[in-house]
Symmetry: none
Subunit: 219 residues, 4 copies
DNA sequence: GATGAATGAGACTTCATTCAT
DNA sequence: TATGAATGAAGTCTCATTCAT
């Protein structure tokens, strides 16, 4: 989507400095593959079908990814990198802690809500993975967890939150987000769900209701 | 035709001829298969290896399960049935609601903690499944959710809990449990984690701390 | 069919002198198997289904036939023996040659018309056969051919038939019978077809029409 | 997308790039498979052996035929098409009817005599076939039968043949041809057999001997 | 003798990967 | 660089046959 904005050089007819051309093709493959992997078991997604969906020949896939596994892995790490950059961009140390936790929740929910395919993809392949995949996932999880965990630790230290186990609270928040995204359905707007989940989680952290009920609803 | 007349002696002399034998063998196969499926992708678990692990010939697998998928499904439904029966057995309507919620959390955590293989198995294959699997999973999820949801609804009605979205709260609880079981690690005993998660969730539900902080956390 | 008439001892409950009991069971298996083999490719007829259709256990089949092939062969030789005995019984050296040829045709047509299952069975497995089957078939074919051939030779010698190649004429007659039985359909009664085929063939043998047109229609 | 723009050079430089290559390979597979199927039961002909005999890898077979059955079917329809085209080419409406019937017999005999493998193949799998095969065979049979049948009908109408049942006569001719080809053996040259069979059949049709006895048998 | 659960060889078919063009 | 025909390893499943009961 945004991809088309960064490499505008793509659309002119010349044999582009192929660096950009290639990047675009790589993206096309990844996107097509993600769409397939998101909704079908790994073994049902054949390289033939990926090639077809991406509009390239089968052999071409191997110019960009050394194997089916590498392609799968490429989807994973690409998207997790994006996720991480999104987190980073959203973090604002100048905001009050409560607000920063709430925002972290919102950003996470929004990120995956806007990437439903990747959400499905990610949600399924969590544990049971080959080594390489596992490393990527663990790392990403740690990065994400650390993000929340340090916020909570800071909150506890500064007395904004009750003295809970920060790791436990983090996992509870992340697990809640996952469940809601996957199973809540469309009966309420995602923004609303996200906000109410924030309320719930902040309450569980013992944050003073007065401190956060108001700011939530008014600018 | 005559068969039914001549061999009634067949079902007599033996302790419980094949019925019991067969049930035991079915279990053996399911257990062996679960152990494999829990830690490897579906496609890496071959029927040969399942047979080997179960100590039967490959053909025998097909006497008990019509296909690899059916075997996979058998694991799923068997264990989910057990899960449901466990829930049912643990429910005690005479207890106060707060206690019942806490107990539901504890029972869930314990159930899966004692069945780590099935936890892995279950945690991985959630979305992205063929129709039959999906139906089983959805159903199980609904049963579990309804269990929590009605407790929370009762709590809200009776004023024990704050007026939260019960479905949202339920998914938060279930998602939290899942995350903790899968990622918390062994740094703290499961019982402890389970109790602290109960505290957190009850707090998020707005339950009066006095009612539950003492029995749990008393310094 | 007639089988139930010869071993009437079968129907009393006692553990019969098993010779008769066994023969009956063997027949039951052969009949059931023929019905299956007649309408499906060899590989689609499983021993399980034969057992089911015959009303015996799979293991029992192996008490009567040493293998699937042996069962198949049993059908073949059993029926071909019957065919041969039928020929023999029908032959009457006192009749005029023309009548004997005509009768041989009629008997052949009737025999297979009354055994449509075996007709299908026999019609399909002719060439492409394993050694054992081939031997049986060749032998039967020779026996049948010789029967016709010697009639024709006699006819030629006695001047009733034109000097044709007897082997060629025989094969033509047999091939014609086969074709008619398999493909003519039910638009005309078999007896009629059989008679008209006789006319045709006798004509081709150069038999004087006057000699045979009359006897056909009147006793 | 771009594919269709960039590689037009692909279809240029080569002599007839894969289209011709592929047709040849398809033929090679069909020929090799026919040779096997002609002399062995379906289940004894493995795809492995077909591949070996055709000099291609097993997977390649499936690029040309979607299944073993489809391969089998391919042999059938390919050859039957050729047979039909051969008939068509041989028909000459300007010849006298007697000559046309004789020629039809000769052409049929020659066609199969020159394709002994296909003769065996075809002769065996007549009835007892799956739906698709059956349809092909029925159709071919009808086409062939119609060919003979209309000749005979014309002959009857014009008084050249006696008033026989044309369908019956046709089946007799076809069945005779089949029998002779399969069982006559090599004791006489095929052309001779074919001619004598023509005499026989024409006589059976009541054709005036004077019209055909001379050119054929004249001492 | 009769049974039918168990066996395991072997078949068909798929599909990731390669490589000549 | 891109293609897609060819490859062949490997998997699921079937089924004739055996044998303990």
């Amino acid at each position: 989507m945004k991809k088309h904005l960064s490499p505008p050089t793509l659309t002119n007819g010349r044999p582009l400095p192929n660096n950009s051309d290639q990047r675009a093709k790589r993206e096309r493959i990844l996107t097509a593959a993600l769409k397939l992997f998101a909704h079908e078991p790994y073994q049902d997604v054949t390289m033939d079908r990926v090639a077809g969906a991406a509009g390239v020949a089968k052999g071409t896939l191997y110019l960009y990814f050394s194997s089916k596994d590498a392609l799968y892995l490429g989807i994973l790490s690409d998207n997790l990198d994006t996720a991480y950059r999104t987190y980073q961009a959203s973090a604002d140390p100048r905001l009050p802690l409560i607000e920063r936790v709430r925002r972290a929740i919102t950003v996470t929910v929004e990120f995956y809500d806007q990437r439903r395919d990747f959400l499905q993809f990610y949600a399924t392949e969590e544990p049971r993975l080959a080594d390489a995949r596992n490393r990527i996932m663990e790392e990403a999880r740690e990065r994400g967890s650390n993000f929340f965990e340090s916020l909570i630790q800071d909150g506890i230290r500064s007395g904004v939150f009750a003295p809970v186990d920060p790791r436990l609270a983090t996992l509870a928040i992340q697990g809640s987000i996952r469940s809601l995204l996957l199973y809540y359905g469309a009966s309420r707007p995602v923004a609303e769900i996200s906000r109410e989940l924030g309320d719930l989680m902040l309450k569980s952290l013992g944050a003073n209701p007065a401190q956060f009920f108001k700011p939530t609803h008014q600018p």
